[in-house]
């Protein structure tokens, strides 16, 4: 069992304290595979991006540590899952998409159809003009209208 503490200091910086008492201020916990394997390969990096600790699996952590780590991770990852496409984005560039995601309804702009990636077998990734990525894990789960919209872009 690995255990360490992650706390916010008075300036809201994240402080990492190793079991031996050494601390690092302003650390950054990152998932190496946030989409394909979120439960494994997690790194704690210092403020300069150097790796302090590598955690192979969340299951290796003691429950308290894990809870605090997961809470922090949840704070920094933002890849909305598109549940359906509401409008009919025009084929002109850039096109505006209104979508319902697992995080609510949003509107974003897509620069060109090069930003809509089909990733076998049925995954689709969309990167909007600001660099935010949206995921559709399986196009079969979309409704008819959304699938038709996607087909035009793929």
């Amino acid at each position: 069992m690995i255990s360490f503490t992650l706390q916010r200091d008075s300036q809201r910086r994240l402080v990492f304290t190793a079991p031996d008492g050494r601390t690092h201020i302003d650390v950054d916990p990152v998932r190496a595979f946030p989409l394909s394997d979120p439960r494994h390969s997690i790194s704690i990096c210092d403020s300069l991006g150097r790796e302090i600790l590598y955690i192979d699996s969340l299951d290796d952590l003691d429950p308290a540590t894990r809870a605090s780590l997961e809470a922090e991770l949840a704070q920094r990852e933002f890849v909305p899952i598109i549940l359906r496409v509401i409008n009919t984005p025009p084929k002109t560039e850039p096109s505006t998409w209104q979508v319902e995601t697992d995080r609510g309804i949003t509107t974003f702009e897509v620069d060109s159809d090069d930003s809509v990636y089909r990733r076998p077998p049925r995954r689709v990734s969309i990167v909007d003009s600001r660099g935010i990525r949206y995921e559709i894990p399986d196009t079969r789960n979309l409704d008819h209208h959304s699938r038709r919209v996607l087909d035009r872009f793929l």
């Binding site: 190496a32 595979f33 394997d37 390969s41 990096c45 991006g49 090069d114 990636y117 990734s125 660099g131």
Partner: protein, 781 residues
């Protein structure tokens, strides 16, 4: 056995009949000819036939006076026959000057004889040199045969090198023997055979639907003759038949609709599958071709062969062939019906047909020409687009937007004018067809009316004839369109089969040795390499211990990258051999051999997908831990973690979302993950800044541990870790040794090193610079 190094019997067996008879007449008993060469120019560079034969004892030279015997080739006619015993010959060499070659024969006291020839004869001249040299060296003992060459089947039309069974292109000059394009089209049948049942079904559906289209005019005949005409004349008519005729007409329409539907569906199904198969076939074949093929082709051209050419074939099959078959069936059936109804009227109707058909095809020919001009203009336009859009930064940097706009406008103008031309002919042609059709109908009317007046035919028959004849002409018109479509599809088929007929130049061994995991010891023996008759590497010898790091140094054009390509077996050596762990690499299956090689290029190529997918390109199922380990060793792990989605971040097309140094480190991780025994670094650090280079250097330090490494670098500082440096110049190895030793020697390397230090310190040493310039000049010559 490779080209160039030829077995005596094999060479001589490939010689033309006349050479054998001719040489045979002058040979001494027991003397055996080895090879021959035909100079085609005399010393004043006029065309003149000649023949040089090398035997195991002598060199014989025949010459003919072109004025007296233009075709030469008879020993009696020979204006001169000269003979040199081999012991009087000390050396032989070729010299190449702007496409005209000279073969020079030297004795101990100097030049014995020389011959001139055009580039087409160069391979034979070289063969002669090689044969004679190997005779000098060791009485003709040649390197052991590793791969048998297939039998000679002909000779190349361009350079006269022998063509062998299975060769689709000349081994010397790369030209492919031409084949008539329409024959390529017939080869589509071999692809179509899989869909035989559906094709036959489609054919019968075509037959049926065409026939059903011919029913209505046939039904109007009795409707007019038995019902309407008698009724109008106040005669009794069987009115109860009316509903049957009308029902029949309706039924025929419904039938025609259903059958056409089925026919279209079936035939499109078949043609779509044929073209899909063709695409798969072409692409998978393309992937297996050696790198050499891609070197000589424009990317756009290859892409269009796989995509648009196959698509054009599909369109041809599904639309034109279908139409054409329908038309032919229609014409035959119509002619049959007309003849069966009334012979005289049919004769008048069909008589002008050949004339009209002739006219139509003539115009079509001109149209076809216009179309091909249009295609060429269109291709020009596309190539401007394909060139300037990726190169937009250069265009803008040199402020040449207006120039490019002008260039595009000119190309567009020529598209416009060719299209205008086609349209003019087309408009005229269409009007002519209408006129001819009307004329034909008019003739039928005139003759028909006359016949009706003489009570030879009925009004119904005449109406039916008029209905048929207008169909007739419409068909003729669409049939003629077939001609140009066939030409176009045939051209496409030829281009597609052009790819399919390519035999990979890096052949798989007949009885392979499976390398599994090599040790990494490399031995290069007497290696020479020529690219399209231009010598690139000359007689290299080098032994590399397993785990050793070698730095390849030399000016660009010295042959470093070529050597590496040969090591990776992207090409095969012209002569000599490369041994890995003591085995000729040509004995390994290429895929298994290359799995032992890690390659890091100057411009790392990443595929669109995530970072993790790119690192795992060589081993798609690599576990996550190994991907991370490889990235760590490549010093990529931390920057990857800083990306918005870590290893799941998308790199964009060709890795555009990453910086040059980041891409390079991802590509190093990719090479690390396959854990290669032999590592090749081709200018891995030359496209990045010094700071990034340091990072990459650290990554490379991890990579090269325990692996045989061959690194090319322009910055000599990059090669500090190398155990030995190999200095190359104009295709030859000029110096080999550790850095310090080479510096002490004060040779080529020392000069290069000094030049770089000077550059770094901001002063250009005139001597070194001049020398470099001189070298380049020599290179160009």
């Amino acid at each position: 056995m490779k080209r160039g190094m030829t077995d005596p019997m094999e060479t001589w067996a490939g010689s033309p009949e006349w050479v054998r008879t001719l040489a045979g007449s002058k040979l001494e008993p027991g003397e055996s000819p080895l090879t021959w060469f035909e100079p085609d120019l005399n010393h004043r560079l006029f065309y003149a036939p000649g023949l040089v034969v090398l035997t195991d004892r002598r060199v014989l030279s025949f010459e003919w006076d072109p004025a007296k015997s233009p075709n030469g080739r008879h020993p009696e006619d020979a204006s001169s026959l000269r003979v040199w015993p081999l012991h009087s010959v000390s050396s032989i060499s070729t010299r190449d000057q702007s496409g005209i070659g000279a073969l020079e024969l030297f004795g101990p006291d100097g030049l014995l004889a020389w011959w001139r020839y055009t580039v087409a004869r160069a391979p034979a001249a070289r063969r002669m040199v090689e044969r004679l040299e190997s005779l000098r060296r060791g009485g003709g003992a040649l390197a052991p045969v590793s791969t048998e060459l297939p039998a000679i089947t002909g000779e190349c039309a361009v350079c006269a090198a022998p063509l062998r069974a299975g060769d689709s292109t000349c081994r010397e000059c790369g030209a492919s023997p031409s084949r008539p394009p329409v024959r390529s089209l017939l080869r589509l049948f071999s692809v179509a055979r899989k869909y035989l049942f559906m094709s036959v079904l489609g054919f019968f559906l075509t037959l049926a639907s065409t026939a059903s289209g011919l029913i209505p005019p046939y039904l109007t005949m009795p409707l007019l003759d038995n019902v309407l005409v008698p009724y109008q004349n106040g005669q009794p008519a069987d009115t109860h038949m009316v509903k049957w005729y009308l029902l029949g007409l309706a039924g025929a329409s419904v039938l025609a609709w259903a059958l056409t539907w089925a026919q279209m569906y079936v035939l499109s199904w078949v043609s779509e599958r044929i073209s899909a198969d063709l695409r798969n076939l072409t692409y998978s074949h393309l992937q297996r071709l050696s790198l050499e093929y891609f070197g000589g082709k424009r990317t756009g051209d290859l892409i269009s062969r796989v995509s648009s050419d196959t698509d054009r074939i599909c369109y041809f099959l599904s639309v034109y062939v279908l139409d054409f078959v329908t038309d032919v069936i229609m014409l035959l059936m119509t002619a049959g019906i007309l003849l069966s109804v009334d012979l005289r009227l049919a004769a008048v109707t069909l008589l002008p047909m050949p004339l009209i058909a002739f006219l139509v095809f003539r115009v079509q020919e001109r149209l076809g020409h216009g179309f091909s001009l249009g295609n060429r203009a269109w291709a020009e336009l596309t190539s401007i687009l394909a060139e300037t859009i990726p190169g937009i930064r250069v265009v803008k940097a040199f402020a040449q937007e207006d120039h490019e706009i002008q260039r595009f406008r000119r190309a567009n103008d020529s598209v416009l004018s060719t299209n205008d031309r086609v349209n003019r002919v087309w408009a005229y042609f269409n009007a002519v067809v209408v006129l001819l059709t009307d004329l034909g109908v008019l003739i039928v009317w005139m003759f028909g009316v006359w016949l009706v007046f003489h009570h030879s035919v009925t009004v119904g028959v005449l109406t039916a004839f008029v209905a048929y004849i207008s169909r007739f002409y419409a068909r003729l018109d669409s049939m003629s369109r077939m001609a140009s479509a066939t030409q176009r599809a045939a051209a496409s088929a030829q281009r597609v089969f052009g790819v399919l007929d390519r035999v990979p130049k890096v052949p798989e061994p007949a009885d392979p040795i499976h390398p599994v995991r090599v040790e990494g010891g490399i031995e290069i023996r007497n290696l020479s390499f020529r690219y399209a008759s231009r010598p690139i590497l000359k007689d290299l010898n080098l032994t590399i211990r397993p785990g050793e790091m070698i730095g390849l140094v030399g000016q660009s054009g010295a042959g470093k990258t070529t050597l590496i390509n040969l090591l990776c077996r992207f090409y095969d050596v012209t002569s000599g051999e490369i041994l890995v762990d003591g085995t000729d690499i040509r004995r390994f299956p290429t895929g298994e051999y290359r799995r032992n090689i890690g390659l890091v290029l100057q411009e790392p190529f990443l595929f669109s997908g995530s970072v993790a997918e790119n690192i795992a390109y060589g081993r798609p199922n690599a576990p996550r831990e190994e991907i991370i380990a490889a990235a760590r060793a490549a010093r990529a792990h931390e920057f990857i973690l800083r990306l918005p989605n870590g290893y799941d971040s998308l790199v964009g097309e060709r890795g555009q979302f990453l910086s040059g140094g980041e891409r390079q480190r991802v590509s190093i991780a990719r090479a690390l993950l396959i854990d290669p025994r032999i590592l090749i670094l081709d200018e891995a650090t030359s496209s990045v800044d010094t700071e990034t280079e340091r990072e990459i250097q650290l990554a490379l330090a991890n990579l090269i541990q325990g692996r045989t490494t061959i690194a090319i670098a322009h910055r000599l500082s990059t090669l500090q870790r190398a155990d030995r440096l190999v200095v190359m110049q104009r295709g030859e190895i000029v110096e080999v040794g550790p850095h310090a030793e080479l510096l002490e020697r004060g040779g080529v390397y020392a000069r290069l090193h000094q030049a770089q230090i000077d550059m770094h310190e901001g002063r250009l040493q005139p001597a070194a610079a001049e020398e470099a310039e001189e070298d380049e000049l020599l290179e160009e010559l």
